[in-house]
Amino acid sequence: MKSKKLSILTNGIIKENPVLRLVLGTCPTLAVTTAAANGIGMGIAATIVLVCSNAAISLLRNFIPDKVRIPAFITVIAGFVSVVQMLVKAFAPAIDESLGIFLPLIVVNCIILARAEMFASKNPVLPSILDGLGMGIGFTATLTLMGAIRELLGAGTIFGMTVTAEFIDPMIIFLLPPGGFFVFGILVAASNALARRQGKPVVEHLGCANCPSRSACHNAVLDGEEKPVECAAKATEEPKQEKVEEIKETTQEEASEEAQEKIVEEAPQEVAEENEETSETVEETVVEETDEKVGGSNE
């Protein structure tokens, strides 16, 4: 029991690192990481909101009607963001200044809504808090790392202390937007390389699989692999059928956590139908298998 709780906590730090593995919350990741200290400030603020909102939503999970759950989650999250915003303004005005508009924008940070939707609304309070804490620590650590890299290359300092600025001219481009995209790309490549070495699936591209709003948009595939117009038409003309599908999928998702094997049998068909829509577990196992095969043939 204790080890299970520990694994919920560490899950968010390494295995499902929200930034590098789930690729959520990219806006603040890119925007505030011009210095390591900003990364820590943003990370801690988001962690507080994440833990509080996970706890509150987990407590309310039986009272929130399914249809209005997204607006309800957003309201809860917005409440905690306002609290954190006021606290930061009062006690750490320097951080408030450097984070600027990204502090209130924690409301729309995908990580928080995604954890509310995927974890807190289905689990008891304590695991939800641990999950929020783990995800928050993972977020903070990644942001700090990225901030440190960009600060070192762009200004020659780390946490404001001079490191290489005296003998290497700082490359200011790393503090500007292109540098943010570039460093993030390299970090994702590095985390992919580590994952590949351990035989885990790599992050191919952003898709609907991790998006918190995907149930709201009728699971439409937005990157153009399927025709979105069809989805929209289906949603308007056959609402009943669509609802059944939605229920089916949620039950599948729940089932996947308990009985992986059953779903794996269905997996090939499902993967063929909608590559990105398959539940995380299925994707993981399937890609693991293919990875092994590829590795074997290479050898």
Partner: protein, 194 residues
């Protein structure tokens, strides 16, 4: 102040120098997620422009006449709820009255509720102290900037499909590095329009 010049300055800044996506890092998720094909990128941008302008038209009066000066701390909560409600209303309205547009844009609308570009622009209009008319222009400019970035990037990504990418950069990393290069090109606009 000459209002025509300031409108032109705001438009230029929103579209080029202070581009929503490439220099303010707002709306990165749709920028990376929905930019695989040029036509989906275009539909998404149109939906974003629509919601941005309407959201600004509603939130600006709410802030100026209701929240200011006593309840400014409610800004975050009120704005996100108003945006969520507006998006729902637009969806219902389009579904009922303008079916073709709903079919084209409908699926993007729920995604826009949690798009930080929309909440971001409504808040920036307040922080920058713009008046009502200029706020609307600013929202329009930001939306057009978003569209420009999306379309350019969708074009770049369609070339990436056939490119010979090193194994370790395949997938998301090369997409991000391509975004870095597009952002680099936008740095060239710095200084235009003050």
């Amino acid at each position: 102040m000459n209002s025509t010049t300031s409108i032109v300055a705001i438009l230029l800044a929103g579209i080029l120098t202070n581009n929503m996506v490439l220099s303010k890092f707002l709306g990165i998720c749709p920028f990376l997620g929905v930019s695989k094909k040029v036509n989906t990128a275009f539909s998404m941008s149109i939906a974003v422009i629509l919601v941005m302008v309407i959201a600004t038209a509603v939130t600006w009066p709410i802030y100026t006449y209701l929240l200011y000066p006593n309840f400014t701390y409610l800004q975050t909560v009120v704005f996100i709820l108003v945006i969520a409600a507006i998006v729902q209303l637009i969806e219902v309205f389009l579904k009922k009255f303008i079916k073709p547009i709903y079919n084209a844009l409908g699926i993007y609308l729920p995604l826009i509720t949690t798009n930080c570009a929309v909440l971001g622009i409504t808040m920036l209009n307040i922080t920058d102290g713009l008046n009502f008319g200029l706020s609307l222009v600013n929202a329009l400019a930001a939306g057009l900037g978003f569209m420009l970035a999306m379309l350019l990037f969708a074009g770049v990504r369609s070339k990436l499909d056939t490119a010979d990418v090193p194994e370790f950069l395949k997938g998301l990393p090369i997409t991000l590095i391509a975004a870095a290069l597009v952002a680099l090109s936008f740095l060239g606009f710095a200084g235009i329009g003050g």
